[in-house]
């Protein structure tokens, strides 16, 4: 269980270049470009699932996020150089090189055996991260958002249908929504990672950008053990130091914890 400490902000598209050069100067490192695809699933609602387990402990229904890396050439045309400037080509709802069949195939491999033969070697290699996020800790005087994430790394998939979706179905989960994230990140000092990203919702094979006009800014520290108070405190300090350093330029803030709640129909139990 990872403890993720985080702070968020937003910048507009026009400030991107300046922000990149500022952050590059600040971190002393060039930006790292990244992109991933997430399929968030929820418990099959036709199932009658109790809120308690056999030991009578309260277990709330939670979403599972399946996330995998996306090669940039699935988003951008081949002639676009794949550096931080490429992000500027991704300001609209539509993604120029968006390869929907690729994503559909990622989730639920085509059932056509011929298609499978040609692609198989590629896609069974795709590894996934399955993660379950708790609601961030409560408390009015939180300096940063603190969220427990339980995650598992899927190295490979076997069986009759080698898709992550079919496994999740076996687990009792069904697809809820999908999104795509692309952006740049910096590894700052003391384990702080700063990400500027654009996020699209994928629905009916179409992409809709939910960060239109700007970038989501996320600064975070992952602490591998939730019981490691020392590292958590150090992480909070490092994040607050960055917050102070960027103050007046990018104002990093603690988000509403309810916005980061991935449980199902839980609002009444808060």
């Amino acid at each position: 269980m990872v403890q993720q400490l985080s702070l968020f902000s937003v910048i507009d598209d026009g400030s991107y270049d300046l922000c990149i050069s500022t952050l590059s100067a600040l971190s002393g490192l060039p930006p790292i470009i990244f992109s991933n695809f997430s399929m968030v699933s929820m418990p099959n609602q036709s199932y009658d699932i109790e809120r308690v387990n056999s030991k009578n402990q309260l277990i709330e229904q939670c979403r599972i996020k399946a996330c995998c890396p996306v090669p940039l050439d699935r988003l951008l045309a081949n002639d676009v150089p794949k550096d931080y400037k490429a992000m500027k080509k991704l300001q609209e709802d539509d993604i120029s090189g968006f390869d929907m069949p690729y994503f559909q195939n990622l989730l639920a491999k085509a059932q056509d055996p011929d298609a499978m033969l040609t692609d198989d070697s590629d896609e069974s290699q795709v590894s996934w991260t399955l993660s379950i996020s708790d609601i961030p800790s409560a408390g009015n005087n939180r300096k940063v958002s603190m969220q427990t994430i339980t995650e598992s790394t899927v190295a490979s998939i076997g069986g009759t249908s080698t898709s992550i979706l079919s496994f999740l179905t076996q687990l009792g989960y069904v697809q809820d929504f999908q999104h795509l994230t692309a952006g740049v990140k910096y590894n700052m000092s003391h384990g702080v990672v700063l990400e500027l990203s654009k996020v699209w919702k994928i629905h009916d094979g179409k992409t809709t950008q939910i960060t239109k006009g700007g970038y989501l800014v996320k600064a975070y520290v992952n602490v591998q053990k939730g019981t490691d108070i020392k590292r958590i405190n150090r992480g909070v300090q490092s994040l607050c130091a960055l917050q102070k350093e960027l103050n007046g330029y990018i104002d990093l803030e603690v988000p509403d914890r309810k916005a980061m709640d991935s449980r199902i129909d839980n609002l009444d139990t808060l």
Binding site: S9, S15, D17, C19, V199, I210, M260
Partner: protein, 217 residues
């Protein structure tokens, strides 16, 4: 030669050699102060001229340092002159009777000259012309106003340059010779906009994006 601050002293004719002159009224303090400043200034200027005439030019930063020293010395001289303005205005200079007038006529006329030398007249005229004011018809108030405006523009320009300088982060600047020798990459951007003055906008709320990421809503 001596200076005398009162007309009545001048009016007393005395041809005797051993007569005791009354130097009490001579503004020694003011004159000494000015002499001191002038000495410093001439020394600095002479040194700079010396440096400039050498085969190898001095380092730009040492030159810049000298210029700023000269400027501050000039400024100090000007303020000293202004400080003793009243005393000096009321002072008249006359040669003492024992001055070898015949032998040093040239020196005496130079020292007692009240009109500006032609060079200085030229500078003054030049300044007047470039100011765009008709010095004969313009009133004192008009001239003052023009000077004030001039100062205002100077102040604005200074501020503007300072602001612009802070808007950019200057790095990797190279001399022309470095560029031609290929020491520095010509294509690289040598200055970029500085972040300090630019505050990004927030086109959306991050809570909404997070809600969409975590809950799909």
């Amino acid at each position: 030669m001596a200076t005398n601050s009162a007309m009545r002293d001048v009016s007393v004719p005395n041809v005797q050699e051993d007569i005791k002159y009354d130097f009490k009224e001579v503004p020694t303090q003011a004159l000494d102060a000015i002499r001191m400043r002038l000495a410093q200034l001439t020394h600095s200027l002479a040194k700079m001229r010396d440096d400039m005439s050498r085969a190898e030019l001095p380092q730009w930063h040492s030159l810049q340092l000298q210029v700023s020293v000269v400027v501050s010395q000039l400024h100090s001289l000007a303020s000293t002159l202004r400080h003793f303005e009243e005393t000096l205005d009321a002072t008249v200079v006359v040669p003492l009777p024992n001055f070898p007038t015949t032998a040093h006529e040239g020196l005496l006329t130079t020292l007692l000259r009240k009109k500006n030398i032609p060079e200085v007249d030229e500078w003054i005229n030049d300044a007047k012309e470039s100011s765009g004011l008709n010095s004969t018809s313009a009133t004192h108030a008009e001239i003052q106003k023009s000077i004030q405006e001039d100062e205002k523009i100077t102040a604005w320009a200074l501020d503007f340059i300072k602001a612009e300088q802070s808007n950019y982060s200057l790095h990797g600047l190279h001399t022309a010779s470095e560029l031609s020798e290929g020491v520095a990459p010509v294509s690289s951007v040598n200055y970029s906009v500085n972040a300090n003055k630019h505050k990004p906008q927030r086109p959306f709320e991050f809570d909404n994006v997070l809600r969409s990421i975590y809950q799909g809503s």
